[in-house]
Subunit: 230 residues, 2 copies
């Protein structure tokens, strides 16, 4: 039984804003690529693709990220549906944008290379095709809002991280320095970080203790009405 058959269909795409972070650098990166098909071939672009009839839009977004990075089960959130009539000169396309957070050391370098993908610092972002710069701006704004009230920062860090690394991440996201005493106090006061015995000794002589985020504890606290807040 089929309904709605007389209604016109539309090309539907997804585009992925893929954020990456490396705990040793201090910048948030974005994965973009040289587009290898028309229109706008050769220009910088986000990774995207069309939604197939037999896949959900979330599924399409996951497929796109996996094609480019080899990663599955990464943090992903729907950003916005872009549906202006003239956003893509190649035709009338509605695109649902998603943003993802990945650890910069995890992705598949071969796959990325094959697609002509590069990590770009946010501060050096070039002009992208169509409305992709607008997508990035919107994604960054949403990321900043999210990172304040949900513990998604940890998606960008390895399992073990130091407090200075965590602070570096937040400083990269918000592009502003934090007071290290206040930052540490605030984070530790939530009792969500587990201190390990091991120290990170690359970046300082004294060494900084590793911590890890306790997801189970977070979920437990959530049920009691706890709100993560930075």
């Amino acid at each position: 039984m089929k309904f709605y058959e007389k209604h016109p269909k539309i090309l539907l795409a997804v585009d992925s804003i893929i954020f990456g972070f490396n705990e040793n650098e201090r910048e948030l990166k974005l994965l973009i690529l040289k587009r290898n098909f028309e229109p706008a071939k050769g220009n910088w672009s986000l990774m995207g693709g069309f939604v197939a009839p037999e896949e959900s839009i979330d599924g399409a977004a996951e497929r796109i990220v996996k094609e480019l990075t080899g990663l599955e089960n990464v943090y992903m959130e729907q950003l916005f549906a872009f549906g202006g009539l003239t956003r893509d000169p190649g035709g009338r396309i509605v695109s649902v944008a998603y943003f993802s957070l990945i650890k910069l050391n995890d992705y598949d370098r071969e796959l990325a290379k094959k697609h002509g993908a590069y990590w770009i610092s946010l501060s050096e972002l070039p002009d992208l095709i169509f409305d992709h710069n607008e997508m990035v701006t919107k994604a960054l704004r949403k990321l900043r809002i999210r990172a304040r009230t949900q513990p998604i920062g940890f998606e960008l860090l390895p399992e073990k991280f130091t407090i200075p690394q965590l602070q570096g991440l937040y400083e990269a996201i918000y592009q502003t320095p934090f007071d290290k005493r206040n930052f540490r106090r605030k984070l530790l006061s939530m009792n969500l970080l587990e201190k390990l015995d091991e120290k990170e000794k690359e970046t300082s002589k004294k060494g900084a203790f590793y911590y890890k985020f306790n997801q189970e504890k977070y979920e437990e606290l959530l049920l009691k009405g706890f709100n993560f807040e930075i």
Copy 2:
């Protein structure tokens, strides 16, 4: 010059969560209708419609609201794109949901009647078709977040309103009482409300002064980095 021609197209719809408020009652209302076509004919549903090839998704959302209420230029915000494979038993449809805020006295009663539409209190919301209840839940959550940090409450009130009416609106949105001294102080301290000489005398013998929201002043303050916050 056409590109992308070999890619499959998809049915794209919009659904509208239309919130309404009447300053004399104390409840937030939702406009829903009895669906008059298959599938799920006769069940409660949000107002929706398909996106035409020659209209933007925002345009489709505006058209839908106008068809049902006769209103244009109402506050409207994109909520979320729902793209699960089985969300509509009538076929594979991706739907972009929007929510709108309207003043309950403004809409066209004839149009609404013709579509079989009714205003329902949030507390009495029935089962809606497909994922429409989920849409409403999500819209309500977003409305609550927005109303805290942007002056959108005024979209639900007439140009002239009293402080107790404004408080009643916020209490309806958040389903929780506020202290009237603190509420009044906070709102007035932003210097965005202009006190009029006139009083509203229906609901009390003493009468309450009317105020109006000063949009120009708000925009001016925004430029200086002001943040609306309740």
